[in-house]
């Protein structure tokens, strides 16, 4: 295990991460594009398109990814489609991710409140405007967690590309281990690298969720809220050691401290209610 730190920074393995990311990126991008097509086919008014999309889903969701990889790498060249190892891996991963992503997109669209769609129609919105202005902005917010999941799963699935000789992290780790016999250190190191990658995906997902949050509080105000004790100190200075006036509402906050509740001006209230939310 003494070489663990050494393997973590080994350029040979770090280069493997690049291949892993390349395959994952291709797979997700292709999967997203094909998923968009599949989802819109399923949601379309024309039933034939929906059936075709359904058939595609059955085939590519129902067969193992590793088979699809081998097919793209070994079988496609026989009918004249020759792809590089990375290209084949990207294609197979895209084809495999597409039905899952399509399902996420479809679920997001169907999850948008029906009443709002009817209201949009009544206002004269065309289906395109309705999708762009009403459905998509709300659907995307609900889809982010599921898409984060899908990204993590694609990242891990990219390791299967090792069977078609893509020199990604898993293949390079096994090759390195079989030449050095230092299995523990190497697999711990590559495991940690995968964890760092998936961890980064989770962080990005949380950031995106936060950015899309409609009730998002600007950073400055968030800091102010974290330091709320300071604000309380300046906003509500205790009127200490003063006899309580006879009228008005009072809150006793301590033996000698009285805070008077002053009705706020409407403008203040509007500004404040905005801030509080």
């Amino acid at each position: 295990m003494e070489l663990f730190a050494h393997y973590l920074s080994l350029p040979y393995l770090l280069r493997g991460i690049e291949f892993t990311l390349a395959v994952t990126g291709l797979g997700l991008l292709g999967g997203l594009l094909m998923g968009l097509v599949l989802a819109s086919m399923q949601l379309s008014r024309f039933w034939l398109l929906a059936i075709l999309a359904r058939a595609y889903t059955v085939i590519f969701r129902g067969t193992p990814l590793i088979l699809q990889l081998v097919f793209a790498y070994d079988a496609l060249p026989q009918i004249g489609i020759k792809l590089s190892a990375i290209g084949a891996a990207g294609l197979a991963l895209s084809a495999n991710e597409a039905p899952f992503i399509a399902e996420i997109l479809r679920g997001g669209v169907l999850g948008v409140d029906r009443g709002q769609i009817v209201a949009g129609q009544a206002l004269g919105m065309t289906p395109g405007v309705l999708m762009r202005r009403v459905i998509a902005p709300q659907a995307i917010r609900t889809m982010v967690p599921a898409l984060g999941n899908e990204t993590v799963s694609a990242l891990k699935n990219s390791s299967l590309a090792s069977v078609i000789a893509v020199e990604e992290l898993t293949l390079r780790s096994t090759q390195l281990a079989s030449s050095t016999f230092d299995f523990f250190s190497i697999f711990f190191a590559s495991g940690l690298m995968y964890l760092a990658l998936t961890g980064a995906v989770s962080v990005i997902q949380l950031i995106i969720e936060d950015l899309l949050d409609l009730d998002r509080v600007p950073m400055k105000e968030r800091l102010a809220r974290l330091l709320s004790w300071r604000r309380i100190g300046t906003l509500v200075a205790p009127i200490s050691n003063r006899p309580a006036p006879a009228s008005g509402t009072h809150l006793a906050t301590g033996p000698a401290e009285v805070v008077k509740l002053v009705p706020m001006a409407p403008a203040d209230r509007a500004a404040r209610s905005k801030r509080v939310r």
Partner: protein
């Protein structure tokens, strides 16, 4: 059923639940397809070609926008991701091609009329039901519709919020003289706002006539029974 609101300004649709009030409203702006019969708004059959076949959804949408039929829903149906102001200004820009400053000005003007200027930037979920419905009314009015359809505008509201919405509608009816078709259960409101009442039951028009006549001397026994039941609950003043 057959009815015409050519010279009439405001019609109230009364009738028990499931009597077809909402369906009739939805047929008028072609949110629902009529099985038979025709609905004409401003002389045009909304959503149909000249030969009677149906248009594409896109063409129907364009026609809805140009004919000018506003609609207010029982469940408000504001766009959840947009502020009150954007709910009004957005459709003006996207459907009617207004510029942003024009649309914003119109939105602020309408929010002022429904008394919600101070909530312009609030999201619908932070508004009370009554406030949401007032924004929804403003949104429906923004493109200056020729007809406003109101589908039980107060049924989903808490009792104490009903009046603020009814006040806004009454004010619009009086100030603008807007043509309205209102499905409602509120007899008093129908009495104050509508010139004419159409009573529906089981999907067909049972009785129709001037508001006061129907409310005070219903000819059809079904109408009379409905008025008695609803009147007992909400309108002790009206003779039944």
């Amino acid at each position: 059923m057959s009815s015409s609101c050519r010279w009439l300004r405001r019609i109230a649709l009364l009738g028990p639940s499931g009597s077809g009030k909402s369906t009739l409203l939805r047929c008028i702006n072609r949110l629902e397809t009529c099985d038979s019969g025709t609905v004409r708004v401003g002389g045009r059959r909304l959503g149909y070609k000249d030969d009677g076949s149906s248009l594409t959804p896109r063409a129907i949408a364009k026609e809805r926008a140009s004919v000018g039929v506003g609609m207010v829903f029982q469940q408000f149906n504001l766009f959840g991701h947009l502020s009150a102001k954007e709910n009004i200004a957005g459709p003006l820009r996207w459907v009617h091609g207004w510029s942003r400053p024009d649309a914003d000005r119109r939105a602020h003007e309408l929010l002022r009329r429904v008394g919600l200027s101070y909530r312009a930037d609030a999201l619908p979920r932070h508004l009370s039901g009554g406030q949401q419905q007032r924004v929804a009314i403003a949104r429906a009015l923004a493109p200056n519709p020729t007809v406003l359809l109101l589908d039980e505008p107060t049924s989903a509201l808490d009792p104490e919020l009903v009046n603020e919405v009814l006040d806004v509608i009454k004010r619009l009816a009086v100030e603008d003289g807007l043509t309205m078709i209102i499905a409602t259960h509120q007899l008093r409101f129908a009495d104050e706002v509508a010139d004419r009442i159409v009573f529906l039951s089981g999907g067909s028009i049972i009785e129709e006539g001037p508001t006061h006549e129907i409310l005070s001397q219903p000819k059809n026994p079904l109408t009379a029974r409905f008025l008695r039941v609803v009147g007992d609950e909400r309108l002790p003043g009206v003779p039944s």
